[in-house]
């Protein structure tokens, strides 16, 4: 049965002026200082502005986005960082207006760009339920009706009259989630909110959303880096890239395309000329050596870097470290592992290092890379934390998916232990 169109997006675009976007607020002092420092440049700037010649640096976060979403669809939105996913959700939630184009939405929109928006630490759990409910667009009557269910779902009945500033962070998130999970808009917009909270509770929430959607035919727009969650929930997926829709359609197809296409050139690093050994470049490559920033969980991949040695050194050590999205250091590996602990002798010149990591080992997550070089017996260390980030994505088709339907279990690595079972009872 063909469902009616509920969201109609036509030619949507959003432009940011980069100085606005990055600098945050400006002090009047800066404006005045600019006038005095360079009065002619300022006048020229103003004149150009008046004449309508745009002199600002522009950045289109979204460009010419067209798509129709039908009632009851659960639409996933994926794409690399900075591809405009969050901007799209912000426009649909009316937090920021578009620069061009138009969106027609039929029905009540509930947006969940963050859990616990507007929670006030001084107010009690009970008070915050009502306040947060109102902020999320629920009526007081509606919240009162659902109050018991919200409290039960969050499991905080005992602390209902305690100010939330005394809550543990887990309790806080559970309460916030619980209010949000009881919203009943026609269209629900969810940003990467499921990245917080304990795994058990996240599962409960996603389950709840799944259930409500199937019952009431609610439409959901869902942004996530967790491809497994997208795969298990969404009927349709949109792939954004550089502010444009790159592809849209069947979730499995789009995720496959995303995994295949997302290649990058890695990151150029600024060499530190005072150091004997300094990095110039780092990237992640798939098993065929093609640079990428998304890796299928089952595939081997390579951490690669280039460095230059500026002064011949006898005792050089190169290390890579990976941190997952929860900030836990998952692996730390060094070149000397190759030589049983012996450090490397390196004459001056340029080098490239590659370290291979096997597939089905790291849990799907977003990882950040650390590269470090040091010389034994000296403090001469080139230490570059957070050089780049990349995703290890669950393709949903791994034979071993021990982490459950939504891929949310909190383990750092996938286990691949040997198991044996024998019957001990005699016949």
């Amino acid at each position: 049965m063909e469902q009616p169109t509920i969201i109609e997006i036509k030619g949507l675009g959003k432009r940011y002026n980069i100085n606005h976007h990055r600098g945050g607020y400006i002090a009047l002092r800066d404006v005045i200082a600019n006038v005095f420092r360079a009065p002619f440049a300022f006048l020229k700037f103003k004149a150009k502005q008046l004449a309508g010649i745009d002199v600002k640096e522009e950045f289109w976060a979204l460009k010419n986005v067209n798509i129709d979403i039908k009632k009851g669809e659960i639409v996933g939105i994926i794409g690399p960082n900075g591809s405009g996913k969050s901007t799209l959700l912000k426009i649909l939630s009316q937090i920021t207006p578009p620069t061009t184009g138009e969106v027609k939405i039929k029905g009540k929109v509930g947006s969940l760009l963050e859990v616990g928006t507007g929670f006030h630490p001084e107010l009690t759990g009970r008070e915050n339920i009502f306040l947060n409910g109102a902020i999320l667009g629920m009526e007081r009557k509606e919240v009162a009706e659902k109050f018991d269910r919200i409290v039960e779902f969050a499991g905080i009945a005992q602390f209902l009259d305690t100010p939330v500033k005394y809550y543990s962070s887990g309790m806080y998130v559970r309460l916030a989630f619980s209010v949000a999970a009881h919203m009943e808009p026609d269209i629900l917009i969810i940003d990467e909110v499921l990245a917080v909270g304990d795994a058990e509770f996240q599962k409960k929430c996603l389950g709840k959303m799944d259930e409500v959607t199937k019952q009431d035919g609610r439409t959901i727009l869902f942004v996530s880096h967790n491809l497994a969650a997208i795969q298990s929930l969404c009927t349709k997926t949109i792939l954004l890239q550089k502010g444009e829709i790159k592809a849209a359609g069947d979730t499995n197809e789009i995720i496959k395309q995303y995994l295949e296409e997302m290649t990058t050139q890695g990151v150029e690093l600024k060499p530190d000329l005072n150091k004997d050994v300094t990095f110039t470049k780092a990237w992640i490559a798939d098993e065929n050596g093609v640079a990428t920033d998304i890796i299928d969980v089952s595939k081997n991949f390579k951490i690669c870097a280039e460095f230059s040695v500026q002064k011949e050194t006898n005792n050089a050590e190169i290390s890579f470290g990976l941190k997952n999205s929860e900030g836990m250091n998952v692996i730390f590996t060094s070149l000397s592992e190759k030589n049983k602990g012996e450090f490397e002798h390196l004459p001056t010149g340029k080098y490239s290092v590659v370290s291979g990591v096997r597939g089905n080992f790291l849990m799907p997550s977003i990882y950040t890379l650390l590269v470090a070089a040091h010389v034994r017996g000296s403090k001469n260390i080139d230490h570059c934390p957070d050089v780049l980030s990349f995703t290890i994505a669950d393709n949903g088709r791994t034979p071993m998916s021990p982490y459950g339907k939504y891929g949310l279990a909190h383990c750092a690595v996938l286990t691949n232990c040997d198991w044996k079972i024998e019957s001990l009872s005699s016949e």
Partner: protein
């Protein structure tokens, strides 16, 4: 089923006002939150609303009333200055909380949609509650000094309060919008309020300006405070013209404030 159309924003639509009405429940909850949180973790609690103007009144009475012998239109100085202070403090605290309301609610503005005008309105309503609490002292003083307002006076008071409300919202909206972009407002405002107090007949009667007192009337608070004294203490006849001038000045201020606010509202979430 309601249909929402999202388009590049125009500066002002009449629909905006209707929308505030739709969101009246959120307005209620924001006010309720601000009141609840206001005096949390203070030993005196809501007594602060009385304590502040009362102490100011005592200090002013000693220095301006007793030592400087400031004229007070034949009314005992304490009640004279308290009437002025009551309205002045409502105006000045409403102004300063309105001007910072967007920044204080930054985390909500960037995550959820609602008509942003709700925030400044909430700020002023919250101050109105303090005003009501502090007004009980004035009632006590009127009984003590034996003053009673006439019927016309009682009818005029709500009008004065509305002017006061509009002036605070108008100027506050203007400052709130600027504050999003230029945080200088935070530093300028305390001085500005202090200066403005001396340009308003709070501690002195407007009559000391002689025949030029009408110039002071452009400042809407002059009309409010002068007429409040006339209405409550019978210092002079209620001056209808002065109320009218104040009303017009406030309306202009409010219109400028709303236009400025709506004009910048578009990019609040982007640059706040």
């Amino acid at each position: 089923m309601q249909t929402t159309i999202i388009k590049p924003k125009k500066i002002f639509r009449w629909n905006d006002l209707r929308e505030i009405w739709q969101y009246k429940e959120l307005l209620y909850f924001f006010t309720w939150r601000d009141l609840k949180v206001r005096y949390k973790q203070t030993a005196l609690g809501a007594a602060w609303a009385i304590f502040q103007p009362f102490m100011t009144m005592v200090v002013f009475t000693i220095f301006f009333g007793k030592l400087a012998k400031m004229p007070s239109d034949g009314v005992p100085y304490p009640i004279f200055v308290y009437t002025g202070l009551l309205f002045w403090q409502f105006f000045s605290s409403a102004l300063s909380s309105t001007s910072s309301c967007l920044i204080a609610n930054q985390s909500i503005i960037t995550k959820v949609y609602f008509p942003r005008l709700i925030l400044p309105i909430t700020s002023v309503i919250t101050q109105l509650v303090d005003f009501a609490i502090a007004a009980t002292i004035l009632v006590g003083m009127m009984i003590y000094y034996g003053y009673h307002p006439n019927l016309l006076g009682i009818l005029v008071l709500p009008i004065l309060l509305i002017i006061c409300f509009m002036a605070a919202v108008g100027l506050g909206l203007f400052l709130a919008a600027i504050n999003v972009k230029y945080r200088d407002v935070r530093y300028i405002l305390p001085y500005f309020i202090q200066m403005l107090m001396f340009l308003t007949p709070v501690i002195y009667p407007a009559s000391i300006a002689g025949k030029y007192s009408w110039i002071l009337a452009i400042n809407p608070m002059t009309g409010v405070i002068q007429n409040a004294r006339a209405a409550l203490l019978g210092t002079a006849k209620i001056n209808g013209l002065l109320i009218f001038i104040s009303f017009v000045a406030t309306s202009v201020l409010l219109a400028i404030g709303i236009v400025m606010f709506k004009k910048t509202e578009r990019y609040f979430a982007d640059i706040i």
